[in-house]
């Protein structure tokens, strides 16, 4: 056998798979609103493309108690019948914790040496013999988990442990591909705002802060761009000729007519000859009726519920 040709063919396959995943990631990341969506996407991609039975992504974070803890942010299975308790338990958490604390770049263990024999036997039935751990970090700050409702969140730089459960150890090329893809994903996440810039002080944030929508207090309200939200049910399931479709307030109606999706609030005030107070009231009315949505100049949707509250 010509191992050189076999080796070069394998490298080509590895590179094309790598490229395939990265290309798909470029497309999918545009729809993502939170870093956890990216983590889940990556986990599923590794399961699908590398044939890995289980992939987990753990991170280190500082909770409201200001103590460092390990938290699972994504998990993907190849076989849905795998009992969750077998693969999500304190032993796995300890494993993730050790990777994070030691920052082990490439750890490979036999499951039978890490798990109690009963648990190892269960995993063995599903063909899981080995666990590979990879540590990745970035100076970018990791947003809290999406469901975190705590009042204060201490942001920390990203420190992640990827756990791969498999029947055979990964080849070196496969390991490199996983790490490369993850690094690309982190870079993209920073570019897309799913990870917060390291230049922001890693201090406390009040309230439930997530990647999007942006905080309206960061933007001058009159720089925001309103866009119309057409009622999807009109004429489909609701009578279009009922009086409820009317915009009763004259100024709101004037403002709504002027909205073309490109002019900001300041421009609309100029065109409609509304002063600041009138424009704010009109916008609030339109927002309350769900007739418009506000966007920042970069095209990101803005949480308008807090927009004009202090005016």
């Amino acid at each position: 056998m010509n191992y050189h040709v076999y080796g070069s063919n394998f490298s080509q396959i590895r590179l094309s798979r790598q490229q395939l995943i990265v290309t798909a990631l470029h497309k999918s990341i545009t729809d993502m609103l939170h870093i956890d969506e990216l983590f889940l996407w990556l986990s599923q991609a590794f399961v699908h493309h590398f044939g890995l039975p289980v992939v987990q992504i753990w991170v280190a974070h500082t909770g409201s108690t200001h103590q460092l803890a390990t938290e699972l942010r994504a998990i993907a299975y190849e076989n849905e019948s795998l009992p969750q308790h077998a693969i999500l338990n304190s032993h796995v958490a300890v494993l993730a914790d050790s990777i994070l604390s030691q920052q082990s770049d490439n750890m490979l263990v036999r499951i039978s040496t890490v798990f109690p024999s009963s648990r190892a036997a269960v995993l063995s039935r599903y063909g899981l013999q080995y666990c590979s751990g990879h540590f990745l970090s970035s100076r970018a700050l990791l947003p809290p988990i999406r469901t975190d409702r705590s009042d204060e969140v201490l942001l920390t730089p990203l420190a992640a442990a990827i756990l791969l459960f498999m029947s055979q150890p990964l080849l070196a090329e496969q390991r490199e591909s996983v790490e490369y893809i993850f690094k690309q994903a982190i870079q993209l996440a920073q570019n897309r705002g799913l990870l917060l810039p390291a230049s922001e002080a890693p201090g406390q944030l009040s309230g439930n802060q997530h990647s999007r929508p942006k905080q309206p207090s960061m933007l001058a309200p009159f720089q925001l761009i309103p866009q119309r939200s057409e009622d999807a049910d009109l004429m489909r399931s609701s009578n279009p000729l009922s009086a409820s479709v009317i915009i009763a307030d004259k100024q709101a109606r004037r403002l709504y007519t002027a909205i073309d999706g490109s002019k900001n609030v300041q421009d609309l005030c100029t065109i409609t000859h509304l002063d600041e107070k009138e424009a704010v009231l009109a916008l609030q009315r339109l927002l309350d009726q769900h007739r418009i949505q506000l966007y920042d100049p970069t095209g990101q949707v803005v949480d308008s519920s807090q927009c004009f509250n202090d005016r």
């Binding site: 489909r236 399931s237 009317i246 709504y256």
Partner: protein, 210 residues
């Protein structure tokens, strides 16, 4: 009973119902600035024109108005734009659709103005009328299916009634096309007209009850 009594009743019913909906839609458009309302208003307005033009063409024999070109093509186009306005809700899409509808409607009205000089009949009339008449039936049937899907998912009375309206219109137009190719189809034609009248009455009821 005059032979074209039912056809006249149909024309007048279509004229009155379409005109009412058109005027109401345009009024609400001035108050709500919704693109979908504009498209509805314009479509129903053109439909009312086709109805009154058909009535005049059939009954005022002293005038030579070759209305059929305008009638068939306009009705097909109007139903098509109503269908297109339902399928998507994006503001950009509806604004562009509105612009296209305005342009096409201007062309259709030009067709109406040219009716005195247009040929009296279509080339290969049996086939052409069947295709144009059949296209109205087909588009109405597609709209019926659309409302049926909405009703199945949302269970709204409005969707049910509108689905019924377009099913009846589709059936009526389908029954009308047999006369173009087969003989002695007057009964089918009249049943088709009555079906459409019934559909229009339900449309009017839906506007008030839906």
């Amino acid at each position: 009973m005059p032979q074209n009594l039912i056809a006249n009743i149909l024309s007048l019913t279509l004229f009155l119902v379409s005109l009412f909906i058109s005027l109401r839609a345009f009024y609400l458009y001035s108050q709500a600035n919704s693109h979908r309302l504009f498209i509805l208003g314009l479509s129903m307005g053109i439909l009312s024109f086709t109805a009154i033009a058909s009535f005049i063409g059939d009954n005022v024999t002293s005038l030579t108005l070759n209305i059929k070109w305008f009638e068939y093509i306009s009705q097909t186009v109007c139903f098509l734009f109503i269908l297109l306005s339902l399928v998507r809700s994006s503001n950009t899409y509806l604004r562009r659709l509105m612009d296209w509808h305005t342009l096409v409607s201007a062309l259709l009205l030009t067709l109406l103005l040219l009716s005195p000089i247009l040929p009296a009949d279509f080339p290969d009339p049996g086939l052409t009328k069947t295709l144009l008449g059949g296209s109205r039936s087909l588009i109405c049937f597609i709209i019926f299916n659309y409302y049926l899907n909405v009703f199945m998912s949302k269970n709204m009375r409005f969707s049910f009634l509108m689905g019924t309206v377009f099913l009846l219109l589709s059936l009526g137009y389908w029954l009308n096309i047999f006369k173009y190719t087969l003989h002695n189809m007057l009964l089918a034609d009249q049943v088709g007209d009555l079906t459409r009248i019934f559909g229009l009455i339900i449309l009017l009821m839906t506007i008030f009850l839906g």
